[in-house]
Each structure stands twice: as structure tokens, then as C-alpha cells.
């Protein structure tokens, strides 16, 4: 794959950047997320996680099926602060 292909579309992270990070010793989705922001955007990794998992296995071996997925962080979809504020019991 070409280095400039975008893998994480939310945060604009390319294949080349991901490979470089894996080669520097980051071997899990969670570590890559914290350093590259892959999976921190609006889609929360639903688009790129499997692709990145495959890139990791290509670089260091192992099976995609054995890789720990990113921890799910709420909310499932981005929600406006004003709407969440209105949902409070204390209103």
C-alpha cells in the first residue's frame, strides 16, 4: 500500500504514519490511538480499527481475530452539549 493512503479518515492519519508508529514499538490499537489519534474522531475507530489491526499483523505477525479491539467509549454517536444538558434529571 502507498504510504500516503489515508487509513483514519476522521483524524487524517496515513498508512505510512501508522507503519512508522508500529515499527517504533507500538503494537496495539490502544497505543496507536493515544499517539496518532487513530480512533479518536467522530467515528471512534469504527471505520479504521480493522484496517489498522490488519496493518499491525502484517508488520509484527499474529491474527486480526486475536487482537484486542478498542475499548468502547460512550456516547455511541457525537451529541451536542446543549442536548445532553437538557437530559439531566436536575432540570
Amino acid at each position: 500500500m502507498k504510504d500516503d493512503v489515508i487509513i483514519c479518515r476522521c483524524e487524517d492519519v496515513s498508512y505510512g504514519e501508522i507503519v512508522e508508529a508500529i515499527d517504533s514499538g507500538l503494537t496495539t490499537l490502544e497505543e496507536l490511538k493515544r499517539v496518532l489519534r487513530t480512533g479518536m474522531g467522530p467515528c471512534q475507530g469504527r471505520t479504521c480499527s480493522r484496517l489498522i489491526a490488519r496493518i499491525i499483523t502484517e508488520r509484527i505477525g499474529g491474527e486480526v481475530a486475536d487482537m484486542k479491539p478498542l475499548l468502547d467509549r460512550p456516547p455511541t454517536m457525537p451529541v451536542e452539549i446543549g442536548i445532553l444538558a437538557g437530559a439531566s434529571d436536575e432540570d
Binding site: T28, R34, P75, G82, S88
Partner: protein, 381 residues
């Protein structure tokens, strides 16, 4: 994995990584840093990244001020970008108690040479940030040299610099117990084997408590969940961290553009719970909507939680354990470990290297709790 080391550091957060770096820099390069998961997977990587010098006790203020001095040049020293930004801290007072305490803090901080100032509510918009709602604000303090940085990048920077100096870092390597013979440390047992060492640094946050128990040492730390959220990225529109002790809240706009912030429940139950809650999400949104109405139309993309390792006086436990030679504590940071990490880690490494620390940290030894010598800091969020 090395089987013999001069020092084993347990915990791959900012403290463990920085202690490893300063030890190696001071000449003790045969160190091993053990981390049960990955770097900054615990409290460090879950924190807000604020670096505040405005504290109510002299020791905390001094440690934070010295740490800012180190942070200012650390990117060059470690050859890494950690997104260090001196955007200031704006602290809002709402009650009589706040006002009284803020004046005391101001006197203390000015005496120490901090460039903090008192602002009247009407000065906030023109001097610091336009979008803050000042309804109910009695006064504020503002320190332009308070700062922030990216906790992941800072931890990684210290860790990589330590490795370059000869430190070994073992990730995904949980410690099963510390090994003690009589009154001294002799090693560490991990799931991957034993490392013989005369020195152990316990920098595992709230998990320091069960670790210390493996050598019959009790440390007075209680874990409390603290929650936090982050929004979608916005064009930069404010620089300072904004905090209020009355609201228990802090928030700032990070370099990436998103707004990140949290607050503490007054009645959070102690424990190792790190689940996110819907109550936090809605209550935090109400607080943010009040304090900065412009945020109402901004979307929250993610929330998470982490653990504060809280001591009885909200100050960290630093130093060698009485009765167990070679067992060093670096824990109990009570929610402000990241911001004082550079100085505290440097001082602890001096202690371990047998040098005289260039700032007194003996008062942070755990023995203060048995001697009843505690000085509670009132500026904890």
C-alpha cells in the same frame, strides 16, 4: 528481560517514565521499567493534561513552579514534541470561602514569585477569555504561565529518552509481587520471571497499594473514579484552563482543537471503578452550558474515566519506606501527578542516587501520616 537491575520502576505513567529517565541521566542506567499494559494506560493517560502552579500550600506550589521551569525546556532536552503550551489558568471564585481562600493563595503564590493576579469579574472577558459566563463569579485569579501538555506524548518522550540512555522498558508485564528479605528489597517477581534488584520504585498509582502489601507495607491511598469528556475539534478560541472549586470543574481547549474537561462528584464512592456514567455526561454538559454557553452546540465525541490516588492530605507520597531499605514510593498524587512529575521525579532520582535532593522532599515521606504532620491543600479539583 534483564534478570539483574540496579533499580526496578513499577508503573509506566509519567512518574515511572520520568524517574527512569532521571536515574539514567544521573548514571544509574541499569534500570528496568515494568508496565502491566502500555505506557500511560493508567491515570496519566486519562488526565486532563493541566499544569497548574496556583496551589494553596507552599510545597505544592513550589513543586509545580519548578516543574513548569523543567517543562519549558523538556521538549529540547528529550528531543520530542509534547504539546507544551503556557495558556494560563483562570480560577473562578463563587463563594465567601472561595474569596477568602483565593486571597490567601494569592499572597502565598506571590511570595514564591508566581506571576498570578487577581481579576474582577468584568476584567475576565477583556483580559483572558471572552466566552466565559461570569454570572455569580465574585473574583478570579489568573496565572498566564500556568500551562498544559499532552500526557501521552510527555510519557512517551521521557520513556524513549530513558531507553536511549540504557533503561529497559517491559510492557504488558504485570508484577505479581515484590520480593523482600528482612528489612530490604531483593527483587521483583513478574508474570515473565524474576528481576533481582536492591531498589524498587512503586509508581503504580492506585495499584501501588496492593503492590506494597506484597511486602507488608501499608500506604494510605484511596482510589476514586474521576470522569472526563472531550468534544469535537473547534477552531482555537481560548487558551487557559478554566477551573472552579465550587463547581469542581476544569476544562481547556487542547492543541487539536477539542475541548476537554471533567468534574468530581463530591460523593463518589472509593474503589477501582473506571466505568463511564451517563450522570457525569449530563451533569458535565449542564455545567459547561452554564459556564460557557457557546459550547451548547458543540458535540461530545467521547467520555472516559480514570482513578485519582488520594492521600489524606492530597499530597503525594515520595521517598524510601521506613523499615524496608530500597523500597521507594512515588504515588498518591491525588489527581495532580502529571503537573508536578518533572520536579518530583528528578528529586526522587537524586534521593535514590544517594545525592541530596535540591528541594526538601523529606516532608513528603509516608511517615508524615503516622506523625500526624499533615497540611491539607485546598486547591484540589
Amino acid at each position: 528481560m534483564r534478570t539483574n537491575a540496579d533499580c526496578v520502576i513499577i508503573g509506566g505513567g509519567i512518574i515511572g517514565a520520568a524517574v527512569a529517565y532521571y536515574l539514567a541521566k544521573g548514571g544509574m542506567t541499569n534500570c528496568v521499567l515494568l508496565e502491566s499494559e502500555y505506557l500511560s494506560s493508567g491515570a496519566t493517560g486519562r488526565c486532563g493534561g493541566g499544569i497548574r502552579q496556583q496551589w494553596s500550600t507552599e510545597p505544592n506550589a513550589q513543586l509545580a513552579m519548578d516543574s513548569v521551569r523543567i517543562f519549558k525546556t523538556i521538549e529540547e532536552e528529550l528531543d520530542a514534541d509534547i504539546e507544551f503550551l503556557q495558556g494560563g489558568y483562570l480560577v473562578l471564585a463563587y463563594t465567601d470561602e472561595d474569596v477568602e481562600q483565593f486571597h490567601k493563595n494569592f499572597e502565598l503564590q506571590r511570595r514564591l514569585g508566581l506571576d498570578v493576579e487577581i481579576l474582577q469579574p468584568e476584567e475576565i472577558a477583556s483580559r483572558v477569555v471572552k466566552q466565559v459566563n461570569t454570572d455569580g463569579v465574585r473574583m478570579a485569579t489568573y496565572c498566564p504561565t500556568d500551562a498544559s501538555a499532552n500526557p501521552f506524548l510527555a510519557t512517551k518522550a521521557y520513556a524513549q529518552a530513558a531507553v536511549r540512555l540504557g533503561v529497559e522498558i517491559e510492557l504488558f508485564t504485570p508484577v505479581t509481587r515484590i520480593l523482600r528479605e528482612g528489612n530490604r528489597i531483593v527483587g521483583v517477581e513478574t508474570e515473565r520471571g524474576i528481576i533481582n534488584t536492591p531498589r524498587v520504585v512503586n509508581a503504580a498509582g492506585s495499584h501501588s497499594v496492593p503492590l506494597a502489601r506484597t511486602v507488608d507495607v501499608e500506604i494510605p491511598i484511596t482510589p476514586y473514579r474521576r470522569e472526563i469528556l472531550v468534544t469535537e475539534p473547534l477552531e482555537r478560541f481560548f487558551d487557559p484552563m478554566i477551573i472552579s472549586f465550587s463547581f469542581g470543574i476544569y476544562f481547556r481547549q487542547v492543541k487539536h482543537g477539542s475541548v476537554i474537561g471533567g468534574f468530581a462528584y463530591a460523593d463518589e464512592a472509593p474503589g477501582f471503578n473506571e466505568e463511564s456514567s451517563i450522570d457525569f455526561l449530563t451533569m458535565m454538559s449542564r455545567k459547561l452550558s452554564f459556564l460557557m454557553p457557546a459550547l451548547k452546540h458543540v458535540k461530545v465525541v467521547r467520555q472516559w474515566a480514570g482513578l485519582y490516588d488520594v492521600t489524606p492530605d492530597a499530597q503525594p507520597i515520595i521517598g524510601e519506606t521506613d523499615g524496608v531499605d530500597g523500597f521507594f514510593q512515588a504515588n498518591g498524587f491525588s489527581g495532580h501527578g502529571f503537573m508536578i512529575a518533572p520536579k518530583v521525579s528528578s528529586l526522587l532520582s537524586q534521593l535514590i542516587l544517594g545525592q541530596k535532593p535540591d528541594l526538601d522532599i523529606d516532608r513528603l515521606n509516608a511517615r508524615r501520616f503516622s506523625e500526624g504532620d499533615v497540611d491539607l491543600d485546598h486547591s484540589v479539583v
